[in-house]
């Protein structure tokens, strides 16, 4: 029918496996045919809490990877931080549990038509969708570097098998407990100055995305970031998830991060206005 949510559908998936990886849970779901429509950057909206739950809203999770083959048919991987009541419930679901989900939702990372030098920057569980993306980019002949950051080592998500598609993987932790001590954004200005990067793909906390946008500003580097705003519906009907975004002629609009995002052009997001209302007229 319409274009919005074009390939989305609601299904009941089965938990194939649920493993703890550092401070996260790696959850594999059997979703069947749906995987054919999932692209890196898309997300899934999951009903949490079971039948009698007092939680009424779905929770959004980035689709970390999908696989069409494998012993279970089409499967989808999520990386979930047990944070509040919804994510804790999801992390407690054992093999064989049924999960009500809607996917794929939202925009996907844009894939360049020519081989480029891509830098993938992930913060915390934000690295999840970057491994699937790395694979696609690698197949297009891109050079793929990945920099991951977190406050501490347990919050770095970097699975062994994911590293295959990456040329260089560097890890930064604020407490120095894994990789180098410092913020993942610190080396980026140098890379840009040295002309070593054409496109940055980022996913992680909003301040990280903003910092990258500021670093990139004025350069030729394209910055595609996956934003994370609080979402009530995930399908574009509630208007809770908006961000101020400017279009080419400088007009500012409050865009829904669930359907006009989560992947957005970092240069268009008005980061200083996030959580505020533009003073100009709409």
């Amino acid at each position: 029918m319409g274009q919005i949510n074009k390939y989305s559908s609601r299904i009941v998936a089965t938990v194939v496996s649920n493993k703890r990886v550092g401070q996260y849970h790696q959850i594999l779901l059997n979703v069947g045919e749906m995987v054919n429509n999932c692209k890196p950057g898309n997300f899934v909206a999951i009903k949490v809490g079971g039948e009698n739950a007092k939680m009424i809203l779905r929770r959004a999770f980035a689709i970390s990877r999908v696989s069409m083959t494998g012993p279970y048919g089409g499967s989808m991987e999520l990386i979930v931080a047990p944070f509040g009541q919804g994510s804790k419930w999801l992390c407690s679901q054992i093999e064989g549990s049924s999960i009500d989900l809607i996917a794929p939702l939202g925009t996907a990372f844009g894939i360049p038509t020519e081989p480029v030098r891509a830098l993938l920057v992930g913060g915390g569980y934000g690295s999840a969708p970057l491994f699937g993306l790395a694979e696609v980019l690698k197949n297009r002949g891109c050079r793929v570097d990945m920099y991951l950051g977190a406050s501490t080592g347990g919050k770095i998500y970097a699975p062994m098998e994911g590293k295959r598609s990456v040329n260089v993987l560097r890890i930064y932790t604020e407490d120095g407990s894994m990789g180098e001590r410092g913020r993942v954004t610190e080396p980026i200005p140098g890379l840009i100055a040295d002309g070593l990067v054409d496109v940055i793909y980022s996913c992680g906390p909003m301040p990280m995305l903003q910092a990258i946008s500021e670093i990139v500003a004025g350069s030729d580097v394209v910055h595609q970031c996956a934003v994370e705003e609080s979402m009530a519906c995930g399908v574009g009907i509630c208007m809770t998830c908006v961000l101020p975004v400017s279009d080419s002629d400088g007009h500012v609009a409050m865009k829904r991060s669930c359907i006009d995002g989560p992947v957005m052009d970092g240069a268009h997001v008005l980061w200083d206005l996030v959580g505020k209302v533009p003073e100009v007229h709409p």
């Binding site: 919005i4 074009k6 609601r10 009424i56 779905r58 009907i237 809770t240 908006v242």
Partner: protein, 313 residues
């Protein structure tokens, strides 16, 4: 066969289930999940004269069996709405109830004038739960006199064709007197209830969680308040059609509102949990009516008000 059709004023609908204003955006977003022709009507997001950014984020917080929101009527403005959103809905052959909102009595009248000439609209919902800039920001729906003046202005501008449904706020001492006032002023029906003024404090920042500080509570948590409001108003004004809403998430809930006196039921927050909720609710409602021996929705409207049959007679 259950006859699901219903009327609100002179408007006829094949089903008593409607979207709720602000919970279906402009309709397009839902079309992937449901066939818009299958439901009673799409009630559009309240539209104002001018485009608006709405309130700052965060705009929502989940609460036990509910949520609070402060969207602040973000929208494209009436002209854009009438040139783009409405024609799309009409082209889909969806029935449409347009919801309007204003900051002054004059703005409501202006909106009504613009809507009057637009084709394909079944009814006009007038959301008067907005701050009145001419009276210290006091919400119109909380002020009997301002409520009446808004509806009066809309009625006069609109002429006599399109049914006017006045949407009321439950945040008042005497809902029935507000209802009577707007009906006297020319409303053909009432929409009950809008969200309940609420707040959540974020325990991390230790400040109000929403950018707009207060927000409106919706979802199953408020259903008992909605049922009471509908029951009270239907008791006082049994001939005035009510479009009921507030926490409807299942056929059982829709039936509860209908028994209390609603001729139509809007599904709002439940669509956030499941974009096809309205269709399941419609199917469940049909089943529940059948089990109870009703052959039409009309028979069930306000049933809870009828005296019990004499026991053992």
């Amino acid at each position: 066969m259950i006859d699901l059709s219903t009327t609100l004023g002179n408007a006829w609908f094949p089903s008593p289930l409607f979207t709720a204003s602000g919970c279906a955006s402009s309709g397009k977003e839902l079309a992937q999940f449901i066939d818009l022709r299958e439901i009673g009507a799409v009630v559009t997001k309240s539209v104002m004269s001018k485009a608006r950014y709405g309130r700052p984020t965060p705009r929502m917080a989940e609460t036990p069996s509910g949520m609070i929101n402060s969207i602040g009527l973000q929208g494209p403005g009436i002209d854009e709405f009438l040139t783009h959103d409405l024609p799309w809905l009409v082209s889909q052959r969806a029935r449409v109830i347009v919801s309007i909102a204003g900051e002054t009595v004059e703005e409501y009248a202006t909106l009504a004038r613009k809507v009057r000439s637009a084709p394909g609209i079944s009814a006009l919902e007038v959301n008067i739960s907005c701050p009145n800039v001419e009276n210290r920001g006091l919400v119109f729906a909380c002020d009997p006199d301002a409520s009446r003046r808004v509806i009066d202005g809309v009625r006069k501008t609109l002429g006599g064709e399109l049914p006017i449904i006045a949407k009321l706020s439950p945040d008042v001492t005497d809902l029935v007197s507000i209802a009577k006032g707007v009906v006297d002023a020319g409303a053909d029906g009432l929409a009950l209830i809008n969200t309940v003024l609420s707040m959540v404090i974020n325990l991390d920042t230790m400040r109000p969680h929403l950018g707009g500080k207060t927000g409106g509570l919706s979802g199953p948590a408020i259903r008992p308040i909605a049922v009471r409001a509908i029951y009270q108003v239907h008791e006082a004004l049994p001939t005035v059609p009510i479009l009921g809403m507030g926490g409807v998430a299942s056929g059982r809930d829709a039936l509860e509102l209908i028994l209390a006196g609603a001729k139509g039921v809007s599904v709002g927050t439940a669509s956030f949990g499941d974009p096809a909720a309205i269709i399941s609710i419609q199917n469940e409602l049909k089943e529940l009516l059948k089990i109870r021996g009703f052959t039409s929705v009309a028979q069930a409207v306000g049933f809870a008000h009828r005296p019990n049959e004499i026991e053992g007679a």
